[in-house]
């Protein structure tokens, strides 16, 4: 039997050939695209591991390597894993940077890596871009960053994590939506961001920004 290498594929694909590509596990990950411009950038982060935690005693759950924030809407970052509290009994964790971790070890976790598309937005003019797709308010009420909002983006139920002050000249956001919507969501974002110069970029554009914040700290 002929054996082509088994590769996983992201729901996101941009209409151009990557300039720099690596294979991470079974995932081909684009590090750089040609003509990325000066930002803002749209980066596919869908290859990162993602886990859903649910428990009536969520706060007593202590998955290895993950910091569970206490309040719904709050996020915490440790060892490259961003964990967002969705409600009193549920949180999601996304691996967004750094070495690939081993999956958290608890029976209350579900691997949802392939359930959603994860899109990173980095650079200036992110709020004017999102303002064209969603009525979500990232500024008021004021929240400590990073934080997560759940609501429609381009009519699609989504989760948006906002790093740093959303009004800052350059910041970063992550949008997650059901994997099936990835293509239309990417199209909608690129169209909305066109006037601000939004372009697809490889993972390096994301890591360059994320390196400026403290995402690696150890879980307590």
């Amino acid at each position: 039997m002929e054996t082509a290498p088994i590769e996983r594929s992201s729901p996101v694909s941009f209409a151009m050939a990557p300039e720099q590509l690596v294979l991470r596990g079974d995932w081909p990950v684009v590090l750089r695209y040609p003509h990325e411009g000066a930002g803002p950038w749209l980066v596919d982060l869908s290859h990162g591991g993602k886990w859903d935690f649910q428990s009536a005693a969520l706060d007593r759950l202590a998955p290895r390597g993950v910091v569970l924030p206490e309040r719904p809407g709050a996020c915490a970052c440790a060892q490259g894993i961003l964990c967002s509290r969705l409600n009193p009994t549920q949180a999601v964790a996304w691996h967004i940077a750094g070495p690939v971790p081993s999956p958290p070890d608890t029976c209350d976790v579900t691997d949802v890596t392939d359930a959603v598309a994860l899109l990173g937005l980095v650079g200036p003019k992110l709020l004017p871009t999102l303002e064209k797709l969603t009525a979500l308010d990232f500024v008021k009420p004021a929240r400590a960053a990073p934080f997560i909002l759940q609501g429609p983006v381009a009519h699609v139920p989504s989760r948006v994590v906002c790093f740093a002050t959303p009004t800052a000249a350059a910041s970063a956001l992550i949008i997650s939506c059901a994997r099936g919507y990835a293509r239309d969501m990417v199209d909608a974002l690129l169209e909305a961001g066109k006037e601000f110069g939004l372009r697809p970029a490889g993972e390096l554009a994301w890591t360059a920004w994320i390196d400026t914040i403290d995402y690696k700290k150890e879980a307590a």
Partner: protein
């Protein structure tokens, strides 16, 4: 935007993000011995109140929570707990 609702998790949002779940009629009746009339009352009948009612809402485009809201059907506005007669 005829309606805005306060989700207990997400805060004030456009009413179209939510799904209406009916007036609060209390827990499900026992199935055993439920007469057709009693069943119909639970499943279909409404008082159609023109005023404040307790009702269930689901934040379907957001966090997915089911919650009880107090809303005045004459104005579509939420009514704080202390204002309910």
């Amino acid at each position: 935007m005829a309606l805005s609702l306060t989700c207990p998790i997400c805060g004030l949002r456009n009413g179209y993000e939510f799904r209406f779940g009916g007036a609060d009629k209390g827990p499900r009746p026992l199935e055993e011995g439920l007469t057709p009339a009693q069943w119909c009352a639970y499943a279909h009948l409404n008082t159609c109140v023109a005023g404040v009612q307790l009702e269930w809402w689901n934040h379907k485009d957001g966090c997915g929570t089911w919650f009880v809201a107090r809303r005045d059907t004459r104005s579509n506005r939420e009514v704080p707990k202390e204002d309910v007669q």
